[in-house]
C-alpha cells in the first residue's frame, strides 16, 4: 500500500469497538529495543544507521512479518506529518535525519520505528480497553524480531536503551481516553494529580509536551525498571476502571442536572460542524469532542462513533492536504476542512472516507 492510499483509510484503532470504547479510544504498548552491536541512534554514523535499517528490514522479510517498510528518506515532509497524525511515527522520527523509517502492519495495528531515539520502537495498538491482547501481540512480534536481531540486553538492567528512563523492560503501556465530562466539570486536574502520585504520566493526543486536543488524554507508565511487563500492565489496568467510573459519574451528573443545556450544546456543536464554511483544527477538535460525548449519551442518533473517531484524524492538516492533493495555506486548509466536514457529516451513517462528491 502506498501512503496516498493510507491517507484515505483509517487504522483499526479508530474503529470504536472493543471493551469500554465509549471512553477508551485505544490501548497501546510500545517496546524500546536496541541492537547490541551498534552505538545508539543519536551517536551512530550515517553508515551505521543504514546498517541498522538494513538489518531490521532483512529481519522483517525473513521472519515473514506482514509489515510494509517505508524509508523516511524517501518520504516527503507532508507524508511524514501524515504518519505523525495517524500515531504511526513520532514527531522526533519525522523531524530526524539520516537513514530511518517505519514498518507498518495491516490495519495499522502494529508499527516499528527504526532509528528513533532507540534503534527500534515497536508499537501495537488496538481499539478499546484491551491491554492483554495488545501485550500478547507485541510480545510475539518482539520474539520474532529477537530470533534474528541481537538485542542489547543485560541480565541486571534488562533491555538497554539510549535513555536510562526506558531501561529494563523498555515498555510503555498506555490507554487513550476521551474524558470530556471530567474536563467540563473541572475535575480533570484532580485526576492528573492522583495519577502523578502513582507514577503515571498524562499526555495529550499528540504526545509529550502538546496540549491535549479534543479532550483526549494518554495515560501511561513511567517506571520501566524493577517491575515486570505484566505487573506494569496490571497496574495501569487497575487504575483505568477508576478513571472510567469518574468520567461516567461526571457524565451522569451532567445529564441529570442540566440535560437541556447539554443537549443544546451538543446539537450546536454538531450543527456547526455540518454547516461551517471555514473552521480551524482546534475548533474542530473541540466540537468533535462535544459530538462524541453527545452520541455516547444518546443525544445524537444519526452519527456513528467510528466516523467521529476518524474525523479527529482526517481533519488534521497533513491529512486534509493529502486528500486535497496539494499543499494548502492555513486559510485554505480551514476552508477545505469545513468542506470536508460538511461532506462527511451530510449523512452520518453511511459516509465512508472514500465517498467523495
Amino acid at each position: 500500500m502506498n501512503l496516498d492510499e493510507l491517507s484515505r483509510t483509517s487504522g483499526e484503532w479508530l474503529r470504536g469497538d472493543g471493551p469500554e470504547s465509549d471512553i477508551v479510544m485505544c490501548s497501546r504498548i510500545r517496546l524500546a529495543r536496541n541492537l547490541a552491536d551498534f552505538p545508539f541512534s543519536g551517536r551512530a554514523s550515517k553508515g551505521e544507521k543504514a546498517d541498522v535499517e538494513r538489518a531490521v528490514r532483512t529481519t522483517i522479510d525473513r521472519a515473514g512479518l506482514r509489515l510494509t517498510y517505508y524509508s523516511l528518506m524517501d518520504v516527503d515532509q507532508l507524508d511524514r506529518q501524515m504518519l505523525v497524525e495517524r500515531q504511526l511515527i513520532s514527531r522526533e522520527l519525522a523531524a530526524g535525519d539520516g537513514p530511518r523509517g517505519v514498518a507498518i502492519g495491516h490495519e495499522e495495528n502494529a508499527s516499528i520505528m527504526v532509528n528513533e531515539e532507540d534503534h527500534l520502537r515497536i508499537q501495537v495498538m488496538h481499539s478499546g480497553f484491551s491491554l492483554g491482547d495488545v501485550w500478547e501481540r507485541i510480545n510475539r512480534l518482539d520474539d520474532d524480531l529477537e530470533e534474528r536481531l541481537g538485542y542489547a540486553f543485560s541480565p541486571q538492567l534488562g533491555y538497554l536503551t539510549a535513555c536510562p528512563t526506558n531501561v529494563g523492560t523498555g515498555i510503555r503501556v498506555g490507554v487513550l481516553l476521551h474524558l470530556p465530562a471530567l474536563v467540563h466539570t473541572k475535575q480533570i486536574e484532580k485526576v492528573f494529580r492522583a495519577l502523578h502520585k502513582i507514577n503515571l504520566t498524562v499526555r495529550g493526543l499528540y504526545g509529550e509536551g502538546t496540549q491535549a486536543d479534543g479532550d483526549f488524554y494518554q495515560i501511561s507508565n513511567q517506571q520501566t525498571l524493577g517491575k515486570s511487563e505484566r505487573e506494569l500492565i496490571r497496574n495501569l489496568s487497575e487504575v483505568v476502571p477508576q478513571i472510567l467510573s469518574y468520567e461516567r459519574q461526571a457524565r451522569k451528573e451532567m445529564i441529570n442536572q442540566r440535560r437541556q443545556v447539554l443537549h443544546d450544546q451538543v446539537s450546536r456543536a454538531y450543527g456547526l460542524l455540518k454547516t461551517a464554511q471555514t473552521i480551524s483544527s482546534s475548533e474542530t477538535m473541540l466540537l468533535l469532542s462535544s459530538v462524541r460525548l453527545g452520541i455516547n449519551l444518546g443525544l445524537i442518533d444519526d452519527l456513528e462513533i467510528p466516523t467521529v473517531n476518524e474525523l479527529f484524524i482526517h481533519t488534521q492538516p497533513a491529512h486534509l492536504q493529502k486528500l486535497h492533493g496539494s499543499p494548502l495555506e492555513v486559510d485554505e486548509r480551514n476552508i477545505a476542512r469545513a468542506a470536508f466536514l460538511r461532506r462527511r457529516l451530510a449523512n452520518g451513517k453511511s459516509t465512508g472516507p472514500e465517498v467523495e462528491e
Binding site: 552491536d37 531501561v167 529494563g168
Partner: protein, 169 residues
C-alpha cells in the same frame, strides 16, 4: 537586635549562614552563625568581600557529590567515546556499553527514575548467546581506522564485521 534577623540555632547570635535542603517532600532549613557553621564543618570565609555564596556552594558540592562527579566527569566509554558529563547534559547515552562504563554513576539516577536498579521481567530467548559489545568494539576500531586514514585496516575490520553479522544471523 532586629527581630527579623535570623538567629543562630546553636548559640543565638546573628545567623549568617543559611542552608536549606529538600529530603523527599520535607524541606529542612538550618541557620547558623559563622562560628557555629565552621564548627559544623561548613567553612564560611571570614574575610569580607569574598563571595560567600559561591564558595559555600562549591564546598557543599564537593562535600556531597564532589568526588563522584570529579571522578565520573572524567570517565568516558572506551567504545563510543561519550563522557559521563556529556550524558548528564543531554540525557542520552552513546552505546549499550555505557551502562558498564558508567556503572558507578548510573545507579542513583536509575533509583531516582524507577525506584529500582535491577531488571525484572522479560528475558530474550537468545540473550547471552553472543557477548554484548563484540560488534561495538569492531565498529569502534573501524571508526578509529577511518579517522587515521588507515584504509587497509578499515577494510579488514569491515570484513570482520560482515563475518560477525553473518554468523549472528
Amino acid at each position: 537586635m532586629d527581630s527579623r534577623v535570623m538567629k543562630c540555632e546553636r548559640c543565638g547570635r546573628e545567623a549568617t549562614v543559611h542552608l536549606s535542603e529538600r529530603v523527599d517532600e520535607a524541606r529542612h532549613e538550618a541557620h547558623l552563625c559563622g562560628k557555629c557553621a565552621r564548627r559544623a564543618g561548613i567553612e564560611a570565609p571570614e574575610a569580607p568581600g569574598t563571595p560567600l555564596l559561591e564558595s559555600l556552594v562549591d564546598q557543599l558540592i564537593t562535600r556531597h557529590v564532589g568526588e563522584l562527579v570529579g571522578e565520573l566527569s572524567r570517565t568516558s566509554c572506551s567504545l563510543c567515546g561519550v563522557t559521563f558529563m556529556e550524558f548528564r547534559v543531554d540525557g542520552q547515552l552513546g552505546c549499550p556499553h555505557d551502562y558498564e562504563a558508567f556503572a558507578k554513576g548510573l545507579p542513583p539516577l536509575l533509583w531516582k527514575a524507577h525506584g529500582a536498579t535491577r531488571h525484572v521481567g522479560k528475558v530474550p530467548r537468545h540473550a547471552g548467546l553472543r557477548p554484548v559489545g563484540t560488534g561495538l568494539k569492531t565498529r569502534s576500531e573501524l571508526r578509529k581506522a577511518i579517522a587515521l586514514e588507515d584504509y587497509e585496516q578499515a577494510a579488514r575490520l569491515r570484513d570482520r564485521l560482515r563475518q560477525e553479522e553473518d554468523h549472528a544471523s
